[in-house]
Symmetry: C2
Subunit: 428 residues, 2 copies
């Protein structure tokens, strides 16, 4: 297992402007490849700080990754920082000048003179190909330790890591290959999962490991072993213990499933179609569903029925119903789902209405959500009550509401019980 150190560069990482997601992503990818991220150093856009951090990293690791500071502006100092750490000068590379010119020409843009600073490389370094941006990366050996400098923009960093760093690390270090199967669990807390798996986890042989990664309304349970069959066997047992909150089982290196892709997969198997009518989620369900390539074969479209009147205009909710019951209501959720299903003639329809906050609406507190599901069998409605910190943040109410709606639809399509998985969900 080789020891990797990371240096991330940029004022924005230290002044609170951005939450750094690259370190966790790289840590995860390196672990999958059988390497161990042992150290991560973040520094400002400061030449001495960058070269200092690189030397500290080089002294403590078998390979070093640097991310950020490769752009064309005056505060992009990684090229000079790598050169300083290696005690060499930078030189302009003709082939990179041409590459940068060609890149701008392809987009029919003139090259700003500033951009050519990206053609500078430390003497003795090689360029790493950037397929998704203008700034080339840098490969250089410092004190016998290979160093890879990548762009800081997350998707450019990721593409270059996968395209350039992974193959090189595989050549240099024979990582003990690990196979990981990921169980995707919706809307079940990490401690609940841990309670269900805890006893079994203590019986695992060495070489088999289980790790959790929680994000809003979603937990990944990663089961890793030294070969694929073993990883799948242990993952299958973990899936049995966790139960029907698992919506997908993924291989670590394949595209990741989402709740939306799991729902589309179920519908595709049934030859069914889907429409949506969204108030609280404001288009979020549609956006999550259409994220999946090929969604248009199953997802017909829907209404964003945000203001009260548009619920009638776009989803045929009777005006009397809204005047009697308001918009945050189980009957309205059912009417929205029924209305859009009839308009678009879909097999299923899903609706949301509720209070995103801040503050209450029509007497309901922020975090109140009604979900409607319509099919040939009729309409069902569910009430979800988000509380505490979850209800205080508009973005989290909206994100969690979309996840709850998709998970409730998944359970309706698959005929799974509802309410057993969470006490704050009731059928209305």
């Amino acid at each position: 297992m080789s020891r990797i150190a990371l240096v991330t560069v940029g004022d924005e990482l230290l002044n609170g402007a951005v939450v750094d997601t690259s370190t966790a992503w790289l840590g995860d990818q390196l672990a999958i490849e059988g390497h161990d991220l042992v150290l991560s150093i973040s520094v400002q856009d400061d030449l001495a700080a960058i070269s200092d951090a690189i030397l500290a990293a080089v002294a403590r690791a078998d390979a070093v990754i640097v991310a950020g500071g490769l752009g064309p502006t005056s505060d992009d100092l990684t090229r000079l920082g790598v050169a300083r750490a290696a005690r060499v000068e930078v030189e302009q590379r003709k082939e990179l000048v041409e590459l940068i010119s060609a890149r701008y020409a392809a987009r029919k843009l003139q090259v700003p003179s500033q951009a050519f600073v990206m053609a500078d490389l430390p003497i003795g370094a090689n360029a790493l190909t950037n397929n998704s941006g203008s700034a080339p990366g840098i490969f250089m050996v410092i004190d016998s330790v290979p160093l890879f400098a990548l762009p800081g923009v997350p998707h450019e960093m990721r593409d270059m890591f996968i395209g350039e760093v992974v193959p090189e690390l595989q050549k240099s270090f024979s990582g003990a290959q690990r196979y990981t199967v990921i169980l995707r669990v919706s809307l079940l807390g990490e401690s609940m999962i841990s309670e269900r798996l805890g006893e079994w986890e203590r019986t695992l042989p060495s070489g088999v490991s289980v790790a959790y990664l929680a994000s809003l309304g979603d937990v990944e349970v990663k089961v890793s072993a030294s070969n694929s069959a073993q990883a799948h066997d242990y993952a299958a047992r973990a899936a049995e213990l966790i139960g029907d909150s698992i919506y997908a089982i993924d291989e670590a290196r394949l595209p990741r499933s989402t709740l939306a892709s799991a729902v589309l997969h179920l519908l595709r198997n049934e030859g069914a179609t889907l429409a949506t009518a969204e108030s609280l989620t404001g288009g979020g369900l549609g956006y999550l569903l259409t994220e999946i390539p090929g969604a248009s074969e199953i997802y017909l479209g829907g209404a964003i029925a945000y203001q009260a009147e548009s619920k009638h205009q776009l989803a045929d909710v009777p005006e009397e119903l809204i005047s009697i019951r308001g918009t945050v209501d189980a009957q309205v959720a059912k009417a929205m789902a029924r209305g859009i299903r009839q308009r678009l003639d879909s097999t299923w329809a899903l609706s949301t209405t509720g209070v995103a906050g801040p503050g209450e609406f029509e007497g309901h507190p922020a975090g109140t959500l009604f979900v409607g599901v319509s099919s040939a069998a009729g309409e069902r409605a569910f009430k979800v009550v988000l509380t505490g910190q979850m209800a205080d943040d508009r973005a989290r109410v909206r994100g969690a509401s979309a996840a709850h709606a998709l998970d409730l639809l998944r359970r309706c399509i698959a005929g799974l019980p509802i309410g057993a998985q969470a006490r704050f969900i009731t059928e209305e």
Copy 2:
């Protein structure tokens, strides 16, 4: 301005298990207090690595914050790491033993023997009060540099930082306050902006700084100075040089503007309302607009007209038009905008249709976008051609398309020129 360094401790920070949000939170809080987070080091739960990182931090900063590794389990090694860096032993503190016992007694729990390890402190250190958890923090001076060790659990870390660290830093350092004004620029590359500002930047007095932060389709230009008036003056000059691609000017400590909030702001000033009809963006415009609290006063709702038929069913696009011209078409974009504006009786309407990919559709390559804008003055349509890597990634085509659509609407409402900002945009 005092220079602060941070050491975060925990395997989970480096193996991909969690995204570290504490660094950004601390960086932001320190900046507000007039301090400067200059370095952040993350290490595993390893004694030598912890003490090594502490010494590196002490050598480079006026004060050091350590977060994590203070719990009762065998992998909580920060107490020993601080002692090792300070070249002293740890000793058990009687008052902390009593505190820990009392804490468990109050919750009617027996104290696990393990818990008393939290009563150990390096010789010469003082305890910091933990009001939200069991583990005391540590205050210690190492090589004349004050060091604060806080728990890693985010809410415990935050409480102890505010209760114990902030007052101590205020006593020790009179922070030089910085004021930052943020120019938000849509759809103009970082190097283009740098070209417009470069000459002016070289004339800035010391104490005034400019930094760029790019994300998909959006660049922040941060202008900082030692007082508010100066920051605003220099920001105003930068705004003149950049031009009409600036959609908002924000104060650093206030909620951030987005393209959607800027559009809603313009509409609010006109007393106008908005509706959307989305094909390519699949609900993304609605989701971005409804992210803004109070959006419902202006944004009425819209159609997600994803399949061809739903363009007719939800936005009254004539079926003959689609059968003649297909769905990826300027006339269709105009018809979608006109149709939804008439249905919802809004002042303005915005539509998208195009090809998200992967692969071409109706003979148009991925990255082809038509945007329709409708108002009382009639309809306009714009063609945007995303190319290269931007067109190869479905998520990026969708995100960039939403940004282009909102920016085109902003320009239409404000009467700004279109096409001058980018040659790959044409009016149809």
